[in-house]
């Protein structure tokens, strides 16, 4: 993997090649491997190593970016030339700020962050992943089920060095296990990831997925309608993730955010409090944004009231001059910008739901439900209407009927059409938040939720 010293050397070579007023180089890449299994056999097994050097040049308010994964002199010369040629023909952007110096970008020196790089995880071999898969297949065989999934591992780096002396570097490892267990007419699913492979237990995940598949055999069809639902954490994160694109100063300036006119107002239930916090022990990721600015901990929602959105540096400067400035809460660069130039601005990507006052376990939520639906995960979620945040999607891999406080069996999967505003206003109970991962949105620290009047509109055929 590219080291911080090698990156500094590459930056120096680029700086000498460049004629631009300012230069910023973004480094990313690493090693990644993934063992994939289906039909109780490993059917795909891959490994890669890559590094991307992305050069942004600035000439008097004009900027552009070019990237390459080749590090020889000629390739670096070419990537600088491409970046500069693109930048020179831009129209000057009055909102473009100089690249940040270390002071503007936040604290200098090392960032206080939980350790996210573990040698044991970086050193996982194909044989070790195969052993993990063998355990999962063993569980499937024991229960006469068919299994499919992945066991992946990797080590990655991200860095930013600019011509005003900023130098940021972050490394982390990752490991992930995702398991689907298939019976004749039902299925179950579990997924977990962590920077530390020792935190993953493939056998336990396999047992839970297998139990879900077995408990949901011969699914009954029950009519669509409004139900109390108990959403497991993966289901919660996959649907709520779609609203965080709107917690962005740029989204408000562009008038594409559902928070326009709703900042400082109560939008969700009293029990909903949400932060963005990269330093949370259950979070992952680098502590700086696309310009190298340190990520702040930002309270987005407090007791149902939308308090703040996040900002890149330029967005904050624009917001302070805009008609919205008195109605959007505190305005400051929060360290959530994407690499420049971009259209999107910024977004919170380290979402943490605050614990509820009286957390309930999944079992307690079930036992207190007279009639409801227990949902393992959601699938193919898309936005139907942007201002009420109406989302559609399907349940998948373990949907159960709850009657008189207990799970009574599997049911056919539903299509939902539900507003996120409505959903987060109807949360009757939450579990203790956990690190969770799905397929539709990014990883978060989220609770399971019991939600009343969730709107299922159709039933599918399985």
């Amino acid at each position: 993997m590219l080291s911080r010293d090698q990156a500094a050397d590459i930056f120096d070579r680029i700086r000498r090649l460049a004629t631009a007023d300012e230069v910023e180089v973004h480094f990313s890449g690493g090693k990644f491997a993934l063992t994939r299994f289906a039909n109780n056999t490993i059917h795909q097994n891959v490994a890669e190593e890559n590094h991307i050097v992305s050069v942004r040049t600035v000439f008097g308010g004009r900027t552009a970016r070019a990237s390459t994964n080749r590090l020889d002199d000629e390739s670096l010369r070419q990537v600088v030339k491409s970046s500069e040629n693109l930048a020179k023909v831009q129209h000057p952007d009055p909102d473009l700020l100089p690249v940040p110096d270390p002071h503007e970008a936040g604290m200098t020196g090392e960032v206080p962050l939980p350790v996210r790089h573990f040698e044991q995880t970086a050193a996982i071999t194909p044989e070790l992943r195969a052993e993990g898969v063998k355990k999962i297949v063993g569980v499937a065989d024991q229960h006469k089920l068919t299994t499919a999934g992945v066991f992946s591992s990797g080590a990655s780096f991200e860095g930013i060095i600019n011509s005003r002396g900023l130098n940021r570097w972050h490394t982390q490892t990752s490991a992930e296990v995702s398991i689907t267990m298939l019976a004749e007419d039902s299925s179950g699913w579990q997924k977990a990831n962590s920077p530390k492979v020792a935190n993953l237990d493939p056998s336990r995940l396999a047992e839970v997925a297998a139990q879900k598949a077995m408990d949901s055999t011969h699914p009954k069809e029950i009519p669509a309608g409004k139900y109390t639902v108990i959403l497991e954490p993966a289901a919660v994160l996959d649907i709520v993730g779609f609203m965080f694109w709107d917690y962005s100063g740029m989204a408000i300036l562009d008038q594409r955010s559902f928070l326009i006119g709703r900042m400082g107002k109560k939008l969700f239930g009293d029990n909903v409090t949400i932060f963005d916090d990269v330093t949370h022990p259950l979070q992952a990721g680098s502590p700086f944004d696309g310009e190298g600015v340190l990520r702040h901990r930002v309270p987005l929602v407090e007791s149902g009231i939308v308090r703040r959105v996040v900002y890149a540096r330029a967005t904050a400067a624009r917001m302070k001059k805009s008609e919205h400035r008195d109605n959007v809460g505190p305005i400051e660069a929060t360290g959530h910008g994407f690499p420049l130039p971009n259209e999107t601005g910024e977004m919170p990507l380290n979402i943490v739901f605050a614990p509820a006052g009286n957390p309930q376990s999944l079992e307690q939520m079930i036992s207190s439900a007279e009639r409801g639906v227990l949902v393992t995960r959601l699938w193919y979620i898309r936005e139907v209407e942007p201002f009420e945040k109406m989302m559609t999607g399907m349940t998948r891999d373990g949907t159960f009927l709850v009657e008189n406080g207990r799970v009574t069996g599997g049911i056919r999967n539903f299509r939902f059409n539900e507003s996120l505003i409505h959903m987060l206003s109807n949360v009757e109970a939450m579990s203790t938040p956990v690190r969770s991962c799905g397929e539709e949105s990014f990883d978060m620290v989220v609770p399971a939720m019991k939600v009343r009047d969730f709107n299922f509109t159709e039933v599918t055929k399985f």
């Binding site: 891959v46 399907m394 399985f462």
Partner: protein
């Protein structure tokens, strides 16, 4: 680059691989966009690397590296074999590939104007002219435009003797106008949503799209939607425009016919398929008017699924998927062809880049136009009461590809052959085979367009691929409309 491939093939053979192929890939892309009168993004990207795919001990291994030096290439080949041996620890049967005659070939996307020779100033000027047109309409609150060019040069060399050099070129362009007012955001896109139109063509595509000429109308429609009635709920005859029908094909025909899904190989992520093997040549997928092919050949058109050879060296082919309504074919690969009784792969294996394993992907999955001359306006005139929907806004389908729901940007109610009012927030839903069996009319070739879907996601790690979908406007009887807002 052949020497790079040979280094890898030699090491793979020495380490005991029974089969190996190597792809050396050089990709270049330019992406430009504007937003509200300013350049939003301006970037150029190149990515170069190689991979080795091997079968050893009867199992697959794959490794990729950005480093094309001899030592790194040989280490990558050795790693691929090591990975294959690890795969063999959890296997049931040995991998067998359908035979394929080794090809030695050169293939290039035909184009008239190399987009990378056009000046960036010219590109930006075009986008800003469109932007100005869009924002000249009062009520437009956000205007976005985009232009992308991509070139992929690939050397494919296999242990069986294939040696293929292929260069593919694609272009995409489009824009959207948004109008925010009250508590509603409306949007219109041209010529399609999700970045517009994408084809394997040069800059001539941009010239053909008449982008500036359609900007004002597009923006005006976005603003006018605020005054439109909401699309009613109920059962209606529905006419879909070609671009929406293209996405309908993608989701409810293209994905379910992927043989890896059918065989359970994608069960953990993308899902499986209702099209189990027993349904081949037995299932009535659609009405007699439904004829669908998966055609990767240049003669089908410049789709994002057009190529000379797939990424395991199999020549482009045309596979009949639905023939007069009968389900007749899957998308297959050398590994999977035998499961449907075929002796040869259908040639659909593609990878996103040098660092990704090729997998079964849609080529150009297209519905054939009607044989009798029929324009969209004639189809409208022949409809007593229905709803015409245009341009996708949302799309969702279950993991076996039965139940779908689509939303569109705009619709018009048709009464007695005339468009009587504009409708906002239209949506429709249904079950795949019921929907295709309800098709009772499709426009003829003059209305047929080969649409590009640039953002098809599949696989773990996920790969994004471009696919093509030829479609003409078509009518469907008795479709459920408005369920997206049911109960709200």
């Amino acid at each position: 680059m052949k020497h790079v491939a040979n280094w890898a093939l030699n090491v793979a053979a020495l380490r005991g691989a029974r089969y190996a192929d190597v792809r050396v890939v050089a990709q270049r892309g330019r992406s430009l966009s504007t937003k509200n009168g300013k350049v939003g993004s301006a970037s150029d990207a190149e990515s170069v690397g190689m991979n080795v795919r091997v079968i050893a001990d009867g199992a697959w291994g794959f490794a990729a590296s950005a480093n094309l030096g001899r030592a790194a290439v040989e280490a990558t080949a050795a790693k691929a074999v090591e990975i294959a041996r690890a795969s063999a620890r959890v296997k049931r049967d040995d991998i067998h590939l359908a035979p394929e005659k080794p090809a030695v070939a050169e293939w290039n996307t035909p184009f008239r104007i190399d987009p990378f020779t056009t000046s960036v100033e010219q590109n930006i000027d075009l986008l800003l002219r469109i932007d100005a047109e869009l924002r000249s309409v009062a009520g437009v609150t956000l205007a976005e435009t985009n232009l992308s060019f991509n070139r992929e040069e690939q050397w494919f060399v296999s242990s069986e003797g294939s040696d293929i050099h292929q260069t593919k070129l694609s272009t995409g362009a489009g824009y959207a106008a948004y109008a925010f007012a009250g508590n509603e955001i409306q949007k219109r896109s041209y010529p399609n949503s999700f970045g517009g139109q994408w084809q394997n063509k040069g800059y001539e595509l941009v010239e053909e799209l008449r982008l500036v000429e359609n900007a004002w109308r597009t923006a005006e429609e976005a603003v006018a939607l605020h005054k439109a009635d909401r699309c009613p709920e109920g059962t209606f005859d529905v006419i879909l425009d070609g671009s929406q029908l293209g996405l309908q094909i993608h989701e409810s025909i293209g994905h379910p016919i992927e043989l890896d899904r059918v065989l359970g190989m994608e069960a953990n992520f993308a899902g499986t398929s209702f099209l189990t093997l027993d349904k081949l040549r037995k299932l009535r997928y659609g009405s007699d008017l439904v004829n669908v092919v998966a055609d990767a050949r240049q003669e089908h058109g410049p789709g994002l699924g057009t190529f000379g050879f797939d990424d395991e060296g199999v020549a482009a082919q045309c596979t009949p998927i639905i023939t007069s309504g009968l389900f007749t074919g899957y998308l297959s690969s050398r590994e999977t062809a035998h499961t449907i009784g075929e002796s040869r792969s259908g040639g659909t294996l593609r990878a996103e880049g040098w660092n990704r394993l090729p997998m079964i992907r849609m080529t150009n999955v297209s519905i054939l136009p009607g044989e009798k001359p029929l324009t969209l306006e004639q189809l409208v005139e022949a409809t007593a009461h229905g709803i015409l929907m245009q341009t996708n806004r949302s799309w969702s389908i279950d993991d076996k590809r039965y139940n779908f729901q689509f939303g569109c940007e705009i619709a018009w109610e048709i009464k007695n052959g005339k468009r009587v009012r504009t409708l906002k927030n239209p949506s429709y839903s249904g079950i795949t085979t019921e929907f295709w069996n309800s098709m009772d009319a499709i426009c003829s070739s003059d209305e047929w367009t080969l649409w590009g879907t640039p953002n098809c996601g599949k696989g773990q790690p996920q790969q994004v691929m471009g696919t093509g979908h030829g479609a003409a406007p078509a009518r469907f009887r008795g479709i459920k409309v408005g369920s997206a807002f049911q109960g709200t």
